[in-house]
Amino acid sequence: MTMALEGIRVVDMTVWHHGPGGGSFLADMGAEVIKVEERLSGDPGRHGGSLGGVENEYGLSYYFENNNRDKKSLAINLKTEKGHEVITRLLKKSDIFLSNMRKSGLGRLGLSYDDVKKINPDIIYAHGSGQGDQGPLLNRQSNDIIGQFWGGYVSYGSAEGPMSIWSDFADRGGAVMLAYGAALALLARERHGISQEVNTSLLGGQVHLGAINFQQQLFEGKAVSPLSNGDGHLPNPFYNVYQDKDGAWFCIGAEGTDDEWGALCNVLGTPGLESDPRFDSQAKRTNGSGPALYEIIRNRFAEETIDHWKPALDSTSLPWGPLRNYNEVLSDPHVLENEFVADLEHPNHGTLKYVGLPVKLSKTPGKLRMPAPDLGQHTEEILTEICDYSWDDVIEMKIAEVVN
């Protein structure tokens, strides 16, 4: 069977994680994604600075590999006339133009929406920005940590302060929104014959992630206040984190119904707790008497180890789970069987594990096909096979330092 986006060509002019991640979601689904990079330095995400971390046995950057798997690379000097001609030919034969470069920069390269639409009226122009495509902060610098701080989610920290999320939480959100926007625009073209510009942003991604916090603020005049879950606990004892005797963390994610209360009392085995009049309704347990109950549960859980609690909790239908680190997640057979982490044949390093696809289509599934490209790895193939240049043209471009 074909892949969902097979036959779709994407010109991916992106840097770092936000844009490249958007392109990789489309590539995983079968699109031919051509990453256009600056001829000499490439995407700065290749080096990644302090984020890169290539000091491993493979010499591979986890950052670049993850964000650019399944793509081809065209390395070119776009500031030359010839370079612009190449990109023009490529755009004529493509379905989607994808970028997270600032719009001012794209304009200077002759790649604004109006420019690209003139080159190919059927193309979809998908742009991911930091702060949206309108408003006073349009030209303010943005990136992952700024997206997180601006977008509200990390205003819930602990007593220690905010907890910004390592792993490019906001960039990932931007990447997903960009891929989703591009896919919607593609569907609009398939169904209605309309090609258009679609804009997403890091801020918009944070709005989606925090949607019910926003809506609570708008309706009730307040959301959970900043740093309110200090001391590592949340207001509701049934939806909270606890520690065992050895300090291992786990959580319960329940609502506090009568059934759940009975089950929890059995687990805790504290005499008289179930009949305590302070806790005889769900409202009392989760609201009025919540803090008192939280203390009781916390103290009780701290008396035994997780080996004691695990079988007891597993025998109930209470949703609960241990805190796991990534070593634990990666060695979980369930994770591997679902291919949330999947194998990829790397030409130089044999079978390597890569992050799998989060959504599975049964008949046109996405697939990990190839590792991230070397800089300019596919330049010649793209120039001759897609852009219809002769080998003489290619050699001329090399001499003129348009390509390598």
Binding site: A4, L5, F25, G49, S50, N56, Y62, E65, G132, D133, G135, Q141, I145, F149, G151, Y153, G157, S158, A159, E160, M163, S164, W166, V176, G181, L184, L187, E197, V198, T200, L203, V207, L209, A211, I212, N213, F214, Q215, Q216, Q217, L218, F219, G232, V241, W249, C251, P319, R324, N325, L330, V335, E337, N338, F340, P358, V359, K360, L361, K363, T364
Partner: protein, 402 residues
Amino acid sequence: MPMVLEGITVIELSTGQQGPVAGALLADMGADVIKIEDKDHGDPGRNVRTETPGREPFPLSYYFENNNRNKRGVALDYSGDEGIEVLRKLVTEADVFLSNFPIADLADMGLDYPRLSAANEKLIYAVATGMGPTGPDRDKPLNDITAQLYGGIQSHGNSDGPVPFWGGMANQEDAILLAFGIVNALIARERHGVGQEVYSALLGSQINWAALNVQSNIFNKREPWGMKREAPLSPFWNYYQTKDDRWLCLGFLQENRDWHTLCQVLEREDLEFDPRFDSNPKRTKINNQVLIPIMRECFLQKTLDEWMEILGRHDLGWSILNDYEMLTEDPQVVANEYVVDFDHPKVGPVQMVGIPVRLKKTPGALRTPAPELGEHTDEVLSSIGGFDADGLRQLRNQGVIN
């Protein structure tokens, strides 16, 4: 101009947040999303709102309204054969079936893919799961907070413990990934003529959203150090407290270029050529633990307002720590219609969360509020289900609908 998903019918059998939000994302883009609810109890999400003693609660649930806007509502007793038969009729006419019910429950109800697709070959059958469609722990319950701990992202929290994020982070992440999957399946149906199953999972979404942590662990064989304040971060990718106990962050990617400006901003020009900090490796790696406390001290000297004024004059990467009160009034949020005005038939003008994916020609729109329980039962069953007045009466007599 049509909306992207105009003409697409989605039958949604889901509760809470993970499934309903995926449905709302499609509804925002023009799909006719029909939410099926238990006729007596409805989606328990209807009851989520803040009860403050002595204060009249806001008449609408922020949770249900946000998760179910733009949908139509059908209330049905689907515990018996008659109700299931009605559901199957609706699915036969639909483009997408969407649920976050456990896979085993759907099979017990006769709503598995083989049976539904037998009557509707091009159907897209989408299920938002906790643990994924296969594997030894497939039927283990997982929800937002357990997924955050089980998926790894909370393992590098502050030193005083994990800080599960409020607002359904895992649910929201999975909902948009499932919506992405459904849109891809719709594209595949247009281009390749197939219907199919689509599965997402809270666990899979947690792993994918934290892809950099996971890939780093695979290649570099170590846990992420996280963003604990004592972590060995770059001083330029870090956060700082101000004189008035507020927070701001710096996020520079061009540290060399910006070092001179930063020294001016901090009024510490003496640092610029200080031999401890005269190269980028020294500033960000070798002596970062010397520089960070110095910068912390600097930021404590002024209030947040003062810093905003000073930093705003320079082209630097920085942000204040916004909370939702600030954000809902933020001119940037309003200008991009991330929050929009909406005339709600029940309570009049309110503000709702907007549509963060902005398609210029076929934009999404907030059209209708979340439905009342069973608000559209008759109209949906007669138009899509093909029931006439007698048929509806019979269902009513059987207690299948109200």
